[in-house]
Structure formats: structure tokens, C-alpha cells
């Protein structure tokens, strides 16, 4: 490997020997193509014509009135597939194509990454397999259906907590046996090097656009940028453009599930300890001995015990702050925001809206906040309905 993939003490590539060659190939290909004229032109066209970039920055009038300060929404929910995941999937999918790979595999929690990978698999004519925990297959059944319609094979993963972590375990095992022709299209800015770097790169379009749109619409940079944090891809995508703007506060929002104190959550930056899982050193939910703990969150896409290594560093340096909100507040804001704006936010993205709402009355009226609305909530209508009772 040419680079170590380190973010301070975090990151690295802690994987079995058998996967090293594939990661090396991927690193090499990424650095060969990511600035290549032909590659970037092709990707830009796909972003524009296929995914629907650039996405608007929308001033949420009524929600702003409600909270008492100015809230702008980065509309990643409008993208094809319904979430920011397509940015990364087009980028990695194109990379796979340039590398001559013919098969894609991916893990998925909410099904958004699985769906985006399935779309890209169809687009590039690649055989696609999606690994998904059985619990998620059930709670995100609409997306399972869509993946299958795109021609992907959805492989339900039993064992463990039957959620995102277990889907990653199984995808890694499958990859181990099929490294030669299969490209593992990883869904978030986590996992072994080079994934955190690659995923950040392909998601950085969110921040680059948002920053320019702020300057255009507000004539200045925002005071706060906030995003939900599962593995951390949508958050690092928008944060990355603002990291050097020292006056812009960066707030990542983790899922507190039933409450941090109950232990039933998925908030490693708030309540985890440094450890190693899925190839990377990161904050991790684990017991004293290092066994990984079960996680809990109403949003399948955030239900993961670890978090991307760059976020771990941003936390330690204090450049970003990571807070957590509970399921009940997420459900409340899903209703409030939808009634206010007529926009259904994904339960994942609702976490950052819930944090914004928690600041109601606490921030000066001229405060400007940009919320990365990472996805739309159509997939969550059933869960919200079930939890209302």
C-alpha cells in the first residue's frame, strides 16, 4: 500500500492478508483516475444527468420561523435513489469499470446504499450482490424490492444482530473468496484504507456545492453545518468543504437510540472507546474485553457500532462536535418537519433536524444553519407508522 490511510491514530487497514492485494489495487486505481480528465468528465456527466446534481440549497422558511433562526437544507434527498449514496456509488462504480471488474458487492443497512449500488450495477451492466441483515431486510422492505427490480441479488444475513455490522462481516467474507473479479463497493467513509479516503472524495461534491451556494445565497459562510453520522459519509462529504473555515461550526449527530444511558444506541463518538473492527481503528461500541456490542437505532442506516476514522480525528482535535439524539425526538421531528415543509426526511437525516430543533430558542435569530438532508423518508413511512402506536 502506498499510503497508510491514517487520520491521526485512526484508520489504517487491519484486514486479513488475503484482502491486501485487492485494497492495494483499489488504492492504485483510485490515485490513477480520481483526477484523470476522462474519468472526471464521465463522472460529472453521470452526476448531472443520472443522479441529478447539483442539488439545491433550500431555505426552509417555515421551519426557520419555528426554530427562530435560519435553516438551509442541502437537498440530497432529491437525488436519484433518494439519498446521497448515489454520489459514492457512481464514483466507485466507475472506478470498478475502469479497473475492469465485472461484479459488484455491497453491504447495506437502510437499503439506500444497496439500492444505489443496484442502480449502478444495472447502469454499468455488472452482476450485483447486496448483503443485508435480516432485521433490515424486514424493516426496509421497500428498498429490498427496488434492489431486486434493478436486477441485484439481495442476500439476507443471519447471525449477530442481523443489521449493518453483520452485513459488512458477510460481505467481507464473500469478498475474501472472490477477490479476483469482484469489486466491494463500500457504502460509507469507514472500513479499511483506501475506503475512507475514496468515499470522502466521491461525497465531497456535497460540501463543495453547499459552500458555493451559501456564498451565493447568504453572501457569507454559514455559522453551523450539521449532518447525521452513521459511518460518516454524508457528514464528511459536507464537512470537508468547511473544515478550513474555522468560524463554521461542524456538528455531527449520532443516534442515541433509546438513550445513551440505556446503552441501547449506536453512538460510538459519544460513548465508545478506540478499537479495531472492519479494518479500521476508530471509536467503537464494545465491552471491556473488546467484544462488539449490539447497537440500537430506529434508523437502519445509522445502526452501526463504529464510525469513520476521520470523524474520530475531528472529534479528538475538537474541529467537529458530535452530539446524539434519541429515537423519540427523531420520530417527533419527522412529523414536525414534514408538516412544516412538505418534505419527508429520512430517519437518518431526521437526526440532524432533531438537533437543530433542540436549539430552538437557544441561538440568535441571525444564526445560519445548513442541514445536510442526506435522504428522503419514503422508505421510512411504515416504521414511523408502526412506532406511532
Amino acid at each position: 500500500m502506498k499510503y497508510g490511510g491514517r487520520f491521526g491514530q485512526f484508520g489504517g487497514f487491519y484486514v486479513p492478508e488475503v484482502l491486501i492485494l485487492a485494497l492495494e489495487e483499489m488504492e492504485k486505481a483510485f490515485y490513477k483516475y480520481y483526477k484523470d480528465k476522462k474519468f472526471t468528465t464521465e463522472l460529472d456527466v453521470l452526476y448531472h444527468d443520472y443522479a441529478g446534481r447539483p442539488t439545491p440549497l433550500y431555505y426552509a422558511t417555515r421551519f426557520s420561523e419555528l426554530v427562530g433562526f435560519k435553516v438551509y437544507i442541502k437537498r440530497e434527498d432529491l437525488l436519484h435513489g433518494g439519498a446521497h449514496k448515489v454520489n459514492n456509488c457512481l464514483g466507485q462504480g466507475l472506478l470498478a469499470k475502469y479497473m475492469g471488474k465485472t461484479k459488484l458487492i455491497a453491504e447495506t443497512g437502510a437499503g439506500q446504499h444497496g439500492l444505489a449500488t443496484s442502480m449502478v450495477g444495472a447502469l454499468f451492466g455488472m452482476q450485483t450482490k447486496i448483503f443485508m441483515g435480516t432485521i433490515d431486510v424486514e424493516r426496509q422492505s421497500v428498498n429490498v424490492h427496488k434492489m431486486r427490480l434493478c436486477g441485484a441479488e439481495v442476500i439476507p444475513v443471519k447471525g449477530g444482530t442481523e443489521t449493518l455490522k453483520d452485513a459488512i462481516n458477510e460481505a467481507l467474507r464473500y469478498w475474501t473468496a472472490n477477490v479476483a473479479d469482484t469489486f466491494y463497493l463500500f457504502g460509507t467513509a469507514c472500513g479499511p484504507h483506501p475506503y475512507p479516503t475514496i468515499v470522502k472524495h466521491f461525497q465531497s461534491c456535497i460540501g463543495i456545492e453547499a459552500r458555493a451556494q451559501c456564498l451565493e445565497k447568504m453572501g457569507k459562510l454559514p455559522d453551523i453545518v450539521t449532518a447525521c453520522v452513521g459511518g460518516g459519509s454524508n457528514a464528511i462529504g459536507i464537512f470537508s468543504a468547511f473544515v478550513d473555515d474555522k468560524n463554521v461550526k461542524l456538528i455531527g449527530v449520532e443516534p442515541a437510540g433509546k438513550g445513551i444511558k440505556t446503552g441501547k444506541h449506536a453512538a460510538p463518538l459519544n460513548a465508545g472507546k478506540v478499537g479495531i473492527l472492519h479494518g479500521t481503528k476508530m471509536y467503537l461500541m464494545q465491552n471491556k474485553e473488546g467484544q462488539i456490542l449490539d447497537t440500537e437505532s430506529i434508523s437502519a442506516g445509522l445502526d452501526y457500532p463504529g464510525v469513520g476514522p476521520e470523524h474520530c480525528l475531528l472529534k479528538d482535535t475538537g474541529r467537529a462536535q458530535y452530539v446524539a439524539v434519541e429515537d423519540k425526538d427523531v420520530l417527533d421531528i419527522f412529523d414536525i418537519f414534514t408538516k412544516c415543509e412538505g418534505i419527508l426526511p429520512a430517519l437518518e437525516s431526521s437526526h440532524s433536524l432533531a438537533w437543530v430543533y433542540s436549539q430552538k430558542g437557544k441561538l440568535p435569530a441571525d444564526t445560519t444553519v445548513v442541514v445536510n438532508l442526506s435522504g428522503r423518508g419514503d422508505k421510512d413511512v411504515d416504521i414511523v407508522e408502526r412506532n406511532r402506536k
Binding site: P16, V18, L21, V179
Partner: protein
């Protein structure tokens, strides 16, 4: 304490019609299906005349393992195994017989314990080496010095897709043996030997004198014999044995004898080859 060196030297001496005898190395998850049964099973393996023990400490997310060993990990964890108990079992094994023991683990358990302290404490308990499934030669610096300082040998994996220059680097850092993975994939019993393993053994033999022990998928006496003939210094049999445990959970008392019988067959086959 008996070393790998002594064991491999003994095996070489026990050569038969010009061919050295391969060391027989069974793998068990410590505490599978429970502490006491696990001890009985391992004693039975020792009685069958195995040369080295490869022991796993159960981890919640074993990404290099197939279903058989995943289930063994779950059984061991459910029966209440933890790091301290694993250490206790190792001590008990060592007082039963002084046999070399290699641990096979995932990094997080070691990292949380404290890498240096882990190596010191487990060396003291009687372990000869600690192989970390998810730590490659690229991060050798995180463990090599502390392991050597604690008096441990080092073992790293080579896989069929490891390039030759890299294999050389790995061999240089293996003071115990090279854990040679027979196939591309995770652990699990297989009906046939991978066609990648014999060329891999030859490649390794052309670059190093470090003993080459082959694991992953080795399931039958025939496999063991073929590998020994191909030059392997040791054969590691994991899932196939763990499966005996899985298949006899309703009659745990019968497991040690069944494991012993199976290992005796393998032993006989490699001795008579």
C-alpha cells in the same frame, strides 16, 4: 517450555522413507462448547498425539471465519468464556502436557487488553505465538517487538495471492512458522484441496527455511497426506474438527473420543504416507 523449533526438529527426525513427517496441528475455539468440555476435548487431541495446538479466543465478529467457526465462537461466548478464563484453560492444558500452543485471534481483543501486557501474560501462561487474523505484515511494528520481548515466536499468514516479494518480507518476520492459507476464502471444511496450495508451498520453499504450516479447508487424512508430500511442515485442521463438536452437542461427553478418533486417523495417515 517446548518450542516450535524442537517440535519441527522432532518431526524432521521422524522422517519416513526420506520424507519428513508433517506436524499435526488441530484448531479449537477455547471454551467451545463450554470450559470443561473444551478441556476434555483438547486433552483427547493431545492423547491422539498431535504436535502443536492452534487455539482461538472467541470474537463477536470473526470476519476471516466461515459458519462453522462462527458458531463455535458464539457457543464459547454464550458459555461465558472471556480472556481470563481462556488464560486459565491454557494453563490447565500446559500442566497436562507441555505442547506448543499458537493463539489465533482478532486484533481488538488484544488491543483492549493492552498489546504488550497481553503478550507477556499469555507467554507466561504457556503460549508460544499469537497470530492476529486481521493484522498484516504492513503493521508488523505494532506487535513484533513486544511479542519478541515477551519471549513469543511470531507467525503471520501468507495467502495464495500474496506476491513473492511480500512473501519474503513475511517469512523474514516469522520466527515460528508461516501460517499458509490454502485457498482464497474463509475457514471452513472443503471436500477437495484447493489447486493453489501446492504451487504456494513450492514458492515458499524456494524462498525460506521457515516451517510452512498449511490451514483453511484441510478436512481429510488424504488432504493431510497430500500436503505433507507437497512439502508442508505442518497441517492445521480447524473447521472439520469443530464440526465434530457442533454435530454432537446433544451428547457432549461423546465428543472427546470422537475428536481423538478423527485425529488418530489423520496422524496414522501422515505417519504411514
Amino acid at each position: 517450555m517446548k518450542t516450535y523449533k524442537q517440535t519441527f526438529a522432532e518431526c524432521r527426525k521422524a522422517s519416513h522413507s526420506g520424507l519428513k513427517r508433517a506436524a499435526l496441528i488441530p484448531f479449537f475455539v477455547i471454551g467451545d462448547p463450554d470450559f470443561d468440555t473444551s478441556f476434555e476435548i483438547i486433552k483427547a487431541a493431545i492423547d491422539a498425539g498431535v504436535d502443536i495446538l492452534e487455539l482461538g479466543v472467541a470474537f463477536s465478529d470473526p470476519i476471516a471465519d466461515g459458519p462453522t467457526i462462527q458458531k463455535a465462537d458464539i457457543r464459547a461466548l454464550a458459555s461465558g468464556i472471556n480472556i481470563e478464563k481462556a488464560k486459565d484453560l491454557i494453563r490447565k492444558i500446559k500442566s497436562y502436557k507441555d505442547i506448543p500452543i499458537g493463539l489465533l485471534m482478532y486484533y481488538n481483543l488484544i488491543y483492549q487488553y493492552g498489546t504488550e501486557k497481553f503478550f507477556v501474560d499469555f507467554a507466561r501462561a504457556g503460549v508460544n505465538s499469537v497470530l492476529i487474523a486481521d493484522l498484516s505484515i504492513d503493521d508488523v511494528d505494532e506487535i513484533y517487538a513486544p511479542a519478541r520481548k515477551a519471549g513469543l515466536d511470531t507467525v503471520f499468514m501468507v495467502t495464495p495471492n500474496t506476491e513473492i516479494e511480500r512473501a519474503k518480507k513475511i517469512a523474514e518476520k516469522c520466527t515460528g512458522f508461516i501460517y499458509t492459507v490454502s485457498l482464497l476464502g474463509v475457514t471452513g471444511g472443503r471436500d477437495t484441496l484447493s489447486d493453489m496450495i501446492k504451487p504456494l508451498i513450492s514458492r515458499l520453499k524456494s524462498i525460506t527455511d521457515v516451517p510452512v504450516c498449511v490451514g483453511f479447508g484441510i478436512s481429510t487424512p488424504q488432504h493431510a497426506v497430500e500436503l505433507a508430500k507437497a512439502g508442508a511442515d505442518g497441517v492445521i485442521i480447524g473447521s472439520r474438527i469443530v464440526k465434530i463438536i457442533e454435530d454432537n452437542l446433544n451428547d457432549k461427553k461423546s465428543i472427546p473420543a470422537k475428536v481423538k478418533e478423527f485425529l488418530s486417523q489423520i496422524k496414522e495417515a501422515i505417519e504411514a504416507k
